[in-house]
Symmetry: C2
Subunit: 508 residues, 2 copies
């Protein structure tokens, strides 16, 4: 019998004769082209047929036998094994329905969190506002350069690149010596946890032990783990309206009911908090996205509510390190005396987006469960090089120097931006006064109907802005977030000019 | 009124006068030492009292007012604000019970996954067997050096350090230019997904599109996400007995029932699979921890079972890249024609433990849900530097060169280890023949009662071994995993000598 084998195609695919012959015979057996029980050619015959050495064919037959594709019977040579008919059927369409868990079904029903990363330029919002926020891009090739007002980016050109790289290089060099440390530190590199605890004590008045600090893969991960630890399907969680889309996604993933609460110029309206909420997720340091700072009285009222109704508070401090006016307001976590507040922060905004390191400061009653939840999803610390470099950056003072420098820069940029916007776009955009953060919140003063015209006019001018419609759980208002942190002044001016042009067009 | 303020302690704590005074007054108001409504000293008086400039005191009063701690009334000076009595109570014990979700309660009830990282040397098992596996250490200071047979470590001294560091350095240098790419690629760096797909096609016969490949924070994360996507509370999941403790933890976290199935020298006994199992988690390439390789017939029977009972299979390919005898057996994933198999792999074992990168190849029907689950826990790719460097390592051929080199080394080491163990410990340990992996599985031939004596005798000799008791869901057998991959030959010999001594002692 001269066996017709797909040898050549396999040789092309695998490069080596042994592999090619093995796969050629194996595929023929699996596809039924060599039926079960049929005898394979002798090694001599096959070697002759394909110009191979007998040693090669022998090796392949041994491999086939070792893996059960063929049987060798004394006297009867090599025989194809039965495959139970399993694979004789033609390859079917594999897009069958997977029966998923209720959690899986909820996950599948979530909106996709990623922006349209395919279109140039990428969504680089850092996740804030990505939950439904729309980016508007447009313009033909040859058109002027895109000006990008979408928030979340930082001024990388002002990042202490050399200093940070030096720290990373040192970690790369040292990683082999350090390998055994941290092996199971799902909760994060210990020196980094200590450095974060010190930083929070000094700059935010949070009196946390390193054991209460957990390093996470971005602050979003901390939010998700906390929400899953605290919220059962059907239970209510109060959020700000508008709020970060990732919070809403995480609550829905846990099966919770999202209760939107109104926000005013002092942040979440605590009187509107429902007694039924088991969990409150709030951004008191700088309300996302309106930028409102919650005053002390309201913070205390919020804590009172939480204590009275035995609910838990997640304080998402996503963007208040760059406070350039006034003083950092005391976090809820620093005011909390009953262990009801978890504080969540991030380095992605203060350093750069690629640093996917965030942290949670959790109350002692939750620490054990949080550590185990972190272990479950990531038994080993992620981004070990960055964790170690970051600990050195914090401990060496480089991080605070960077914050101080950037705070000055952002203050200047923000003042310039606000004044430009007031002058050129004041008739259509009400820009909330801003004393921290990397973007401004601008309300559209005109009808909701005219807002899409404005967005389209921005797009035609190759101006990227973030529509905040997606941050509203209900009653959306026409509003924009305009990021300035990554811009140089001339870009900013050009962008505001285009903005002015767009609103002229929309309102005419 | 001369106000007694905790100024000195705060000065020590914060370093700067403004901060110290702010916190001193703030704390006094919050603690009730300065009662609500009471008048604060004039700025002149306070400045005089503490030897400060009036400008400093004025700035502090402004800060206090901005944050609502004091009110300034024209004519009546500065007055402490009410704090609603909230914080007047003495600081209470904050270790209250947190009311957690059912998921949270399950997580809290899990055993801690981390080994006792405090004791020298650390558990560095890479998580395999950490679920209850015991490490035995001991010996007084001045005693001989510890010999560590615990598995999971790799021969770092043979890792191509220079090549890998060069790739990492390049990523560190380039990171600022690349920042916008990958911003939302929770599913992993696209070139890495492509490189893994190519690698799996060439070396394992898995025909996966890059879209089906998801980069995860270690293979454990892939397991956990898949299990949560597929398993509802109360549903049954079949596992091997013994198996990886992390699998059991993940099933229990999802609320699933763990059904242990027996393992023989051909791996999971498929006849024992319960019809009720909605999910099967299996290690066919190299059964963990026994090292058994599942032959083709049984693989096909497993797939048949899965199809008949409409259940899903997770193929945990944790340790079969280093196959040094025979040929890699075709993964279930390559044999699967109905989209019921997810394949999970890792680079932590083939490269080093610090590389916390694993991956899942999921069937198309699950891809959307898996991506969203990954997004939920980590909306941005983790360990971006390593992901990019790894893509370059795979594409440049460095990874496969490394695998080939290490395969030869590990084969030699394994043969030497097996022969030493047979000669010196054969009367007490049955070492299963091993054709892949980084450790050997050794069964204790004597009574279960004598096994703890043996472990204690190892500890006294400063010999670390891994007791596999914790890998059994039921009917534990006395057995050890003995890692050899990270050892030099002389260490190995010394270790086996101590092992021989320990069993002499235990059996005498």
């Amino acid at each position: 019998m001269e066996l017709q084998l797909p040898y050549e195609t396999n040789l092309k695919r695998y490069g080596r004769k042994t592999e090619a012959l093995f796969h050629a015979i194996r595929d023929s057996i699996m596809s039924g082209r060599i039926p079960p029980g049929s005898r394979l050619p002798s090694t001599r015959a096959l070697a002759g047929q394909y110009g191979l050495s007998r040693g090669t064919v022998n090796a392949v037959y041994d491999m086939l036998q070792a893996q059960g594709y063929v049987r060798t019977r004394p006297g009867s040579g090599t025989v194809a094994a039965g495959t139970g008919g399993h694979l004789h059927a033609a390859k079917r369409d594999v897009r069958g329905e997977a029966a998923m868990s209720r959690w899986g079904e909820r996950i599948r029903a979530l909106p996709d969190a990623a922006g349209d990363a395919a279109g140039p330029p990428d969504d680089s919002s850092g996740g804030r506002g990505a939950g439904g926020g729309t980016e508007v891009a447009g313009g033909a090739s040859g058109a002027p350069a895109v000006i990008d007002f979408t928030p979340g980016r930082v001024a990388l050109s002002h990042f202490p690149v050399k200093e940070w790289n030096r720290l990373l290089y040192a970690q790369v060099r040292n990683q082999y010596r350090l390998e055994r440390a941290d092996a199971h530190a799902a909760e994060g590199h210990r020196p980094l946890r200590e450095a974060i605890a010190r930083h929070l004590r000094r700059t935010r008045g949070i009196d946390a032990a390193p054991e209460d600090v957990f390093v996470t893969g971005g602050s979003h991960q901390a939010l998700v783990l906390l929400i899953h630890l605290l919220l059962d399907p059907g239970e209510a969680a109060a959020v700000e309206n508008p709020c970060y889309g990732g919070t809403v996604r995480a609550i829905r993933a846990a099966g919770g009911r999202v209760i939107p609460c109104p926000v005013d110029r002092s942040g979440l309206v605590t009187e509107a908090l429902p007694a039924s909420a088991k969990l409150i997720v709030v951004t008191p340091g700088r309300q996302f996205p309106t930028g409102a700072v919650m005053p002390l009285e309201r913070r205390l009222a919020l804590l009172d509510h939480a204590e009275r109704h035995r609910c838990f508070v997640i304080e998402d401090d996503y963007d208040s390190e760059f406070r350039f006016r006034g003083r950092p307001v005391e976090p809820l976590k620093a005011l909390d005396r009953t262990g009801r507040v978890a504080f969540v922060g991030t380095f992605s905004r203060t350093m750069m987006q690629d640093i996917r390191l965030g942290y949670a400061v959790v109350p002692p009653a939750l620490a054990d469960a949080f550590r185990k939840a972190k272990q479950l999803f990531e038994p080993h610390p992620a981004a070990v090089l960055e964790q170690r470099a970051l600990a050195a950056f914090l401990n060496g003072g480089g991080y605070e120097r960077h914050l101080r420098r950037m705070r000055r820069r952002y203050m200047k940029l923000c003042e310039r931006f606000e004044s430009l916007l007031a002058k050129r776009a004041g008739r259509a955009l009400f820009v909330h006064p801003n004393d921290a953060g990397l973007y401004v919140y601008a309300e559209w003063k005109h009808s909701a109907a005219s807002f899409p015209r404005f967005l389209a006019a921005c797009a035609r001018r190759r101006l990227l802005v973030r529509d905040l419609a997606g941050t509203y759980v209900e009653n959306p208002k026409p509003a924009l977030a305009l990021g300035f942190a990554h811009l140089e002044e001339d870009e900013m001016e050009e962008g505001v000019s285009r903005l002015a042009g767009a609103l002229e067009e929309a309102l005419s």
